[in-house]
């Protein structure tokens, strides 16, 4: 019987009412008195020397308040990078200065050259068109291998070359891996590209800077997944504003998917300009600006080799990857191809020896950073594609080859530094095969063939590592941040309470799920619980929402703070009931003395905390407010098994998704409806990567896909129909090291689905005798058709 409240209940979302009635409060809905508008003049050249920026004509245009160029930011810090990776030779990565505005050179199309602040957005745009910019063009580095060639034009003149770092992991295993590969009974090799993507939250980025002269306080309203992180980075490293003089507010945020984690130059600009102009300054990104200024995702080129013994056991895996950093290092960019990719290469398998080498490369393209999954989709795609290819080469069932190599005992220490606490990979595989009706596939294939179509069945298994932690470990790995989360629980006198969380909801439904947890712990109605997030002035220092960390890390902090509240209320109840604290039980919002009929309600205890007339003042303080910071002991390790059936039109190369099944293990689930929604969204993005989406540059560094006319977003009719689409999370091996036993569900779909789709496409093509063992994503009709010729 499904629960109707508390943990495990599919409660409808309370935030929906405001979103469905047009009452949301997104950053672009915020307009401040006296507000001016900024338009950024951006480079239309990928690489060149700025020889002249003449703003004189623009300055006299109607409505212009002030024009800013790079010289206005002398003495202002650059945009910082939050993760330092060390190369295998022991040197730290090359880290170029990342100025707010292009200084001396432009290094990618879209880089800011000048900013016009004007009375209206239209006046700002008009004036920007009157700025004269002269650029001596330089060769643009777009292809990573060309950028690493001897004599290649340098993206940053002050660096030795375009190599950011050359990372080996686990370096001590390299020779053993090389030996195992050279001695293997069979080696399957695959070269593949993980296509560059643009996150494309539907809400473009917006920043509104405000400055209060009377208090010398700056406020930034911004579309961020982590306002405290922005406050720290921008305040401490860019503008030199102490935290107590800087407030960052991220109100309703219209999707993030990673690209709203990072601190962007536009945020620093609006904060800086509000003070410089002594009036609020607002920037609203257009979609085209978003394409050329939001950090992109993925963009790996990889050679992967899987070694097997004569019995088809995996003996070693070797991965050589080039990872595109773009022109500058975005906030967490260096960590994505390394610690979020190399550590995932064991996947679900007991491969004893793994080595990965990652060369991170500067190019004249938009910076690349985390996008839904961040490193984990790249690792999963490589691993699951090479396993599928190996199965075909060896003539064994791809399911059987995976099962044979599954990790089955937990905890399991992988050879890539992480230790899985729980999982049951056979269980998710069994569930997936059952839901996918694999036994009926042959009949469906025949039916497709009778209609002149090819049909393929693809499977995929994956693990995730969510809730990146603990802080002392990530610090050793190069993180320049802690990765805890915080919560303050403030109980009001009349019994209602507010949870102020460092997590941030931009679609995930925290305002609904977080109260479900606290309501169950205390036994009060969820309607009595309010969630506050997204405002540094109202929440404790927290790290925000990304990496599927909110319930596993933020939820755990909330549980710890609530436990402190419960402990204190029990002391108060014991005093009121004249009983021993150890005998007090809290159930259904009432405290009782075990074995008696004496009780006192939650509301009576909370009132006593604030009206402490009959109160143990000698033992405890009045009031009822507790804060907890939770730093996890380990990552969490969700896992899953996915299946996809595609039809391929042999005449056009068009691929359609006919069936899709996901069987995920997220550990315990707080709100199944919301979890399923997260998986639907992730799978749509994964199918988008596999079949539709591609961020394309030409050889001169022009961004060819800078609008929805050129970048194919998944539409409703690209995705599987209801009757053949199942997302399941009934396999549950709870996390062993967090209080809720939860693992996180936000990225699974985007990690698990791309290889599933491509494996199915290859299966379809091979069924017709086409000797195709790989198609790079997106598997567009032209690529698929060409592969069949």
């Amino acid at each position: 019987m499904p629960k109707d409240s508390g943990i495990g209940a599919s409660n409808k979302r309370r935030e929906d009412v405001r979103f469905l009635t047009g009452s949301g409060n997104y950053t672009d809905d915020i307009n401040l008195a006296g507000q001016a508008y900024v338009h950024f003049l951006r480079s239309d050249v990928a690489h060149g020397t700025l020889t002249n920026v003449d703003t004189s004509a623009a300055a006299s245009m109607p409505g212009v308040v002030r024009i800013f160029t790079a010289t206005d930011f002398d003495g202002v810090g650059g945009i910082p990078c939050g993760w330092q990776v060390t190369s295998k030779d022991g040197n730290v990565m090359q880290e170029p200065v990342h100025p707010i505005m292009a200084t001396g050179k432009v290094r990618h199309v879209g880089e800011m050259i000048a900013a016009v602040v004007a009375e209206t957005a239209e006046q700002a745009r008009d004036a920007a068109e009157a700025i004269v910019v002269d650029i001596d063009e330089l060769p643009a580095m777009v292809d990573m291998k060309a950028a690493l060639a001897d004599g290649a034009t340098k993206v940053h003149d002050d660096l030795t070359d375009n190599l950011c770092y050359d990372w080996g992991f686990v370096e001590e295993n390299r020779e053993a891996v090389d030996k195992a590969v050279s001695e293997a009974a069979h080696v399957t090799t695959l070269e593949l590209v993980n296509n560059r993507l643009v996150a494309n939250p539907m809400e473009p980025r917006v920043a509104v800077g405000d400055y209060a002269r009377h208090s010398d306080e700056s406020t930034l309203y911004t579309t961020s997944q982590n306002p405290h992180v922005i406050r720290l980075l921008m305040g401490a490293f860019v503008l030199g504003i102490p935290e107590h003089k800087l407030r960052v507010v991220a109100p309703d945020v219209g999707g993030g998917f990673g690209t709203k984690i990072f601190h962007y130059a536009e945020e620093a600009f609006c904060t800086f300009a509000a003070k410089a102009c002594n009036r609020p300054v607002k920037w609203t990104s257009s979609r085209t600006e978003a394409f050329m200024s939001d950090a992109h995702g993925r963009d790996h080129v990889t050679k992967i080799e899987l070694a097997l013994d004569a019995d088809n056991n995996f003996t070693a895996l070797r991965c050589l990857t080039h990872a595109n950093m773009g022109a500058y290092l975005s906030t967490f960019a260096p960590s994505i191809p390394t610690w979020l990719h190399g550590t995932l290469l064991a996947g679900n398998y007991k491969t004893p020896l793994i080595y990965t080498n990652v060369k991170a490369v500067f190019t004249n393209t938009v910076p690349v950073d985390a996008y839904r999954g961040a490193g984990r989709p790249e690792a999963t795609f490589q691993l699951e594609r090479v396993i599928d290819k190996a199965a075909r080469e060896l003539g064994v069932d791809p399911v059987d080859l995976r099962r044979q190599n599954f990790i089955t005992e937990f905890p399991y220490a992988t050879p890539v530094a992480v230790e899985y606490d729980t999982g049951d990979y056979h269980a998710t595989m069994d569930k997936m095969l059952e839901l996918a009706d694999r036994d009926g596939f042959d009949a469906r294939r025949k039916a497709s063939e009778a209609n002149g179509k090819l049909r393929g069945f693809g499977v995929n298994c994956f693990i995730e590592a969510c809730g990146i932690a603990p802080s002392n470990l990530v610090g050793q790995l190069g993180a320049r941040a802690g990765l805890y989360e915080s919560a303050t629980v403030r109980v009001n006198a009349t019994g209602g309470l507010v949870v102020m969380t460092g997590s941030h909801s931009h679609g995930q439904g925290h305002e609904t799920t977080f109260p479900q947890v606290v309501a169950e712990m205390i036994g009060i109605d969820a309607d009595q619980i309010e969630i506050v997030h997204g405002d540094t002035a109202r929440t404790p220092m927290g790290m925000g929402t990304y990496g599927s960390r909110s319930i596993a890390v933020g939820g755990s902090a909330m549980v710890r703070a609530t436990e402190k509240i419960i402990n204190k209320t029990k002391k108060i109840a014991a005093h009121l009931l004249e009983a021993a604290e150890a005998d007090i039980e809290l159930k259904d919002g009432a405290f009782s003395v075990a074995g008696t009929d004496k009780s006192v309600t939650w509301g009576e205890v909370t009132l006593a905390a604030y009206v402490p007339h009959n109160y143990p003042l000698e033992d405890i303080e009045p009031g009822l407010e507790e804060t907890a910071f939770y730093d996890p002991a380990n990552f969490t390790y969700p896992s899953g098994a996915y299946a996809c059936e595609v039809e391929v039109d042999p005449d056009t190369g068009t691929v359609t998704i006919e069936r899709f099944v996901s069987a995920d293990d997220f550990g315990n689930v707080i709100n199944p409806m919301i979890v399923e929604g997260q998986v639907h969204g992730g799978i749509a993005q994964g199918i988008g990567q596999a079949l539709l989406e591609n961020c394309a540059y030409d050889e001169s560094g022009q961004l060819l896909s800078a609008s929805y006319m050129d970048y194919t977003m998944p539409r409703a009719d690209n995705l599987p129909r209801m009757e053949h689409y199942t997302v399941d999370h009934s396999c549950q091996t709870p996390c062993t090291h967090n209080p809720l036993g939860v693992k996180g569900c936000g990225e699974a779909g985007a990690i698990g689905s791309p290889p599933t789709v491509i494996n199915a496409v290859i299966d379809a093509l091979q069924s017709a005798g086409h000797k195709v063992d790989h198609i790079d994503m997106p598997a567009t009709p032209d690529r698929v058709w060409a592969a069949m010729q």
């Binding site: 539907m202 999707g255 679609g507 409703a716």
Partner: protein, 161 residues
């Protein structure tokens, strides 16, 4: 600058706009009706869909001056008279047809237009109609279910076909 007058959600509204002011900008910036969202600049995302004289229109494809004298309906006017969610809005909540909420106003307005012209659409017809509305969060699955449910059809039965 031109004076424009229209009826928005049943109330008279007017303002002075530039010739280039889009209807989306007029609704948001002049009337403060910020439920109509702008998610792209090529009229593809559909976050700004409103009804003009009963027809679904992307408010970024139309000049405010072109709507002079028109009847305009936006997401702010969609709830029932008592303030409760209307049948489409309620179906979106019931079926978890929204996450971040940014595309949602356009989705609801498009759904309303679809159901007006096709009261019992098939799943394929719903998916086809949503060609002009992009959602990045939901994968559309629950949006499609919500629209079918709002049409009074038995969604679990349709999903099990």
């Amino acid at each position: 600058m031109a004076q424009v007058t229209m009826t928005v959600n049943g109330k008279a509204a007017s303002g002075t706009v530039e010739g280039r002011t889009l209807l989306s900008g007029f609704l948001r910036d002049h009337l403060g009706l910020t439920g109509t969202h702008v998610g792209c600049d090529t009229s593809q995302c559909g976050a700004c869909v409103v009804h003009v004289n009963g027809e679904a229109v992307k408010a970024c494809t139309m000049l405010a001056a072109e709507a002079d004298g028109a009847e305009v309906a936006t997401i702010e006017g969609m709830a029932n008279a008592d303030g409760s969610l209307n049948v489409i809005q309620q179906a979106f909540q019931d079926h978890h047809g929204l996450q971040c909420g940014f595309c949602t106003p356009g989705m609801v307005m498009s759904a309303a237009a679809l159901l007006k012209e096709n009261p019992k659409p098939s799943e394929a017809e719903v998916r086809d109609y949503l060609e002009g509305n992009i959602c990045r969060c939901t994968g559309y699955h629950n949006i499609v279910k919500a629209i079918l449910a709002a049409s009074g059809q038995d969604v679990p039965a349709m999903a099990a076909e």
